[in-house]
C-alpha cells in the first residue's frame, strides 16, 4: 500500500515556485531518502506532507488522508524529528516521554508501557531520571527518535536526524531506523550525508523545486556511472 502519494504537487509563494509539479510515492514500511541541495524545496515539501502548510495545487495523500482537508487525522498518524530540536533539555528523559505521549493522546498506562519498551530497546532504562541536557548528543538523538514513534505512527519524518554525531553513533542510529522500518513504520528521511542515502530503499533528489532523480541507490549509480550517491548528486548538480 502506498503510504504517501504525491501527484503534481505545486507550491508557490507569490510568484516563486518552491515545488514544481512533484510526483512520487512511498510504500508502506519503506525507508525513503528525500535528498536535495539547500533551497531545493525539500523543507517546503516536507511541511506539506506533515500537514503544516497547504499545497497550491496537486494531489497529496498521507497515510490515506487528504492533505487539504484532513490534516487533523494526518497529524495523529505521523511522527516527526528534526536536527534542530532534540527534546526539552531541562526535563528528564521520563518527563519528556510523558509529555509527548500525552500530546499524542496516549493513556498514562500506555505511555508507561511504550516508554519502558523503547528505553529497553536502547538500553537506556537506567537513564530515565536523568535530565536530558546532561546526556551526550548521540543518546539525545536516539531518544528523540523514540519519542517520535511513541504512538506507533504509520510514518515517521526525519529531518536531518544525524547531524553532528560521530560515524559510530550514526551507524547505530540507522540500525534503530532499520528495526523500526521492519516493524512496519515507514521512514521518510532527509539528509546531507550522502552515504546514508545508500541505506535507503529508494532515493529522490530535488533541485530547483523539481525532482530530478528517483530510484534505488543501485540503479542511480548505474545510470550515472558513479561509485556512490555523492557522485550521482554532483553529476546531477553540474548539469
Amino acid at each position: 500500500m502506498k503510504i504517501i502519494e504525491v501527484e503534481n504537487l505545486v507550491k508557490k509563494f507569490g510568484s516563486f515556485v518552491a515545488n514544481d509539479h512533484l510526483t512520487f510515492s512511498v510504500d508502506e514500511g519503506e525507508i525513503y531518502g528525500f535528498l536535495g541541495a539547500n533551497g531545493a524545496g525539500k523543507t517546503t515539501a516536507m511541511k506539506i506532507l506533515c500537514g503544516l502548510s497547504s499545497p497550491t495545487s496537486g494531489k497529496v495523500m498521507v497515510a490515506g488522508y487528504d492533505v487539504y482537508h484532513q490534516t487533523e487525522m494526518i497529524k495523529k498518524r505521523i511522527g516527526y524529528m528534526s536536527q534542530r530540536f532534540s527534546l526539552f533539555e531541562d526535563l528528564s528523559v521520563w518527563e519528556n516521554f510523558q509529555f509527548f505521549g500525552g500530546i499524542y493522546g496516549l493513556s498514562p498506562a500506555k505511555i508507561r508501557e511504550r516508554t519502558t519498551e523503547l528505553l529497553g530497546r536502547l538500553g537506556l532504562e537506567s537513564e530515565k531520571k536523568q535530565i536530558l541536557g546532561s546526556l551526550p548528543l548521540g543518546w539525545k538523538q536516539k531518544l528523540a527518535f523514540s519519542v517520535a514513534i511513541i504512538h506507533r505512527p504509520s510514518i515517521v519524518f526525519l529531518d536531518e536526524p544525524t547531524g553532528g554525531v560521530d560515524p559510530i553513533t550514526r551507524r547505530q542510529f540507522w540500525e534503530i531506523i532499520y528495526e523500526t522500518a521492519s516493524q512496519g513504520i515507514t521512514v521518510f528521511v532527509t539528509t546531507h550525508y550522502m552515504d546514508e542515502a545508500e541505506y535507503c530503499r529508494r532515493v529522490s533528489i530535488m533541485a530547483d523545486g523539481k525532482i530530478v532523480a528517483l530510484d534505488t541507490p543501485a540503479n542511480l549509480k548505474t545510470k550515472y556511472n558513479a561509485v556512490n550517491i555523492e557522485e550521482v548528486f554532483l553529476k546531477i548538480a553540474r548539469n
Binding site: C50, L52, S53, K75, K76, Y80, S82, F85, I103, Y104
Partner: protein, 365 residues
C-alpha cells in the same frame, strides 16, 4: 590589545540595540525627567463654590486661577454634589467660601474657607492644599496693608478618601499594575519565544494539538501565577500596610483578571514579533516596564506632562488600570464609575488577540 579594543568598538557601533541603550536611553530619560515627569502642580482642575460672591471672594478666586497652578473645572457642583465630582475624578480640589465673606471679614475680623482635596493621590493633594493655602495667605497679607487690626482667613482642609495621607495609597495600585503587566506579558512573551528559538514549536505544530491548545497550555500557568501574586499583594497591603479595599473585592479581582488577559495577549503579540528570547525580554522591558513606571500616572501625574505625552499615555493599558484599581480600592466606587476604563482595556485585549492571530497565521505559511 589595541586590536581587541577596536574590535569591541566595532561590535558596539554596529549593534543597533546597544547603541539605543548607550545613547538613546540617557537622552530620553533626561528629557523626560526634565520636562515631562514632575511632581509639581500645574493646571490642576479645581472647582469653586462661592456662597458670597462678593469683592473679596472674587479677588481670591482670581488670584488662585491666575497663579498657573489651577484651572477652573467646568464642573461646578452644589454642596451636595461634591462627592459625585470627586468620584468621577474630575477635580483635584474643591474650594468653598462661606456666605457673607467680605462682611464677616470686616466685622468679625475672620471668615472661613473650606478646602477639600482628593487624597487618593496623597502627594498631589498635599501640594495642592499647600499651594492654595499659600495663595490665600498671600491675599491675607495684601488685605492687611494699611489696616490696624489683624484679620484671619480661616482655612479648613479636608482630605477625601485618605485623611491620613498614607503614601501606600499611592504606590500599592501602581505596584499591582506593574506586577500583573510584567509577569503576564513579559513571561508569556519569553516563554513562547523560547519555543520558537529552540524549534520546539515545530514539533508541537506537527502534533495533533491545535495551536489554540498549545498557546492556552503555555499561557495558563502565568495567568494563575499572576493572579496569585495579585492576591498576595492585596493581602499584604491590607494586613501589613493597612491599605483597605473600600469597594467590592470581587469587582477588583474580576478587573484584574481582565487586565491579565489583556497583558497575556500583549505578551503573545510580542512573541510573534520577536525572534529570540533576548529580543522578547528587551521589548518587554523597554516597551512595557519603563513606560509603565514613568508614564502611566503611577508616580508622576499625567496632568503635569506635556500634551503629546498625555495623548501617548492614553494608549498605555496600565494608565487605565491604575484608575480602576484606585477607584475601587481607595474611593470604594462601583462598576458604573469605571465602565469606560474597563471597556478600553477589554478593547485593547481584543485588539492584541486579533493582531497575534494574524501574525501567527502568516508565520505558519
Amino acid at each position: 590589545m589595541r586590536g581587541f579594543i577596536i574590535k569591541e568598538f566595532y561590535h558596539i557601533f554596529r549593534d543597533i540595540r546597544s547603541m539605543v541603550v548607550l545613547f538613546g536611553m540617557p537622552v530620553i530619560q533626561v528629557l523626560l525627567f526634565g520636562f515631562a515627569l514632575s511632581t509639581e502642580v500645574k493646571n490642576a482642575p479645581v472647582a469653586i463654590i462661592d456662597y458670597s460672591n462678593d469683592q473679596v471672594t472674587r479677588a481670591i478666586t482670581t488670584k488662585l486661577l491666575s497663579s498657573g497652578f489651577f484651572i477652573l473645572s467646568d464642573q461646578v457642583p452644589g454642596e451636595g454634589h461634591i462627592e459625585e465630582v470627586f468620584r468621577h475624578g474630575k477635580v483635584k480640589e474643591v474650594i468653598v467660601f462661606e456666605s457673607d465673606f467680605a462682611a464677616k471679614l470686616e466685622k468679625d475680623r475672620q471668615a472661613g474657607i473650606q478646602i477639600i482635596a482628593d487624597a487618593s493621590d496623597p502627594n498631589t493633594a498635599n501640594l495642592v492644599v499647600s499651594y492654595t493655602s499659600a495663595i490665600i495667605g498671600d491675599y491675607q497679607q495684601e488685605y492687611l496693608k494699611g489696616m490696624s487690626l489683624p484679620v484671619t482667613v480661616r482655612t479648613e482642609s479636608q482630605m477625601m478618601y485618605n485623611p491620613a495621607l498614607k503614601s501606600v495609597f499611592m504606590f500599592v495600585p501602581g505596584v499591582i499594575t506593574i506586577l500583573l503587566m510584567l509577569i503576564t506579558a513579559m513571561m508569556t512573551s519569553i516563554s513562547i519565544a523560547r519555543e520558537n528559538e529552540l524549534g520546539t514549536m515545530e514539533i508541537l505544530l506537527v502534533s495533533p494539538m491545535r495551536p489554540i491548545q498549545i498557546i492556552a497550555g503555555k499561557v495558563l500557568p502565568y495567568v494563575l501565577l499572576a493572579f496569585t501574586n495579585a492576591l498576595i499583594i492585596l493581602l499584604l497591603s491590607y494586613f501589613v500596610l493597612g491599605m483597605p479595599v473600600k469597594g467590592s473585592l470581587l469587582l477588583l479581582l474580576a478587573e484584574s483578571l481582565l487586565f491579565i488577559v489583556m497583558a497575556l495577549s500583549l505578551g503573545i503579540f510580542i512573541s510573534t514579533v520577536s525572534n529570540s528570547q533576548q529580543m522578547a525580554m528587551m521589548l518587554s522591558m523597554f516597551a512595557l516596564m519603563l513606560p509603565t513606571i514613568l508614564l502611566s500616572g503611577f508616580i508622576f501625574p499625567i496632568e503635569n506632562m506635556p500634551v503629546p505625552l498625555q495623548i501617548f499615555s492614553n494608549i498605555m493599558p496600565p494608565r487605565w488600570f491604575i484608575i480602576i484599581v484606585k477607584s475601587i480600592m481607595i474611593k470604594g466606587l462601583g462598576f458604573q464609575y469605571i465602565w469606560k476604563e474597563t471597556l478600553i482595556i477589554a478593547g485593547m485585549a481584543l485588539f492584541f488577540i486579533a493582531l497575534s492571530i494574524k501574525k501567527f497565521r502568516i508565520r505558519l505559511e
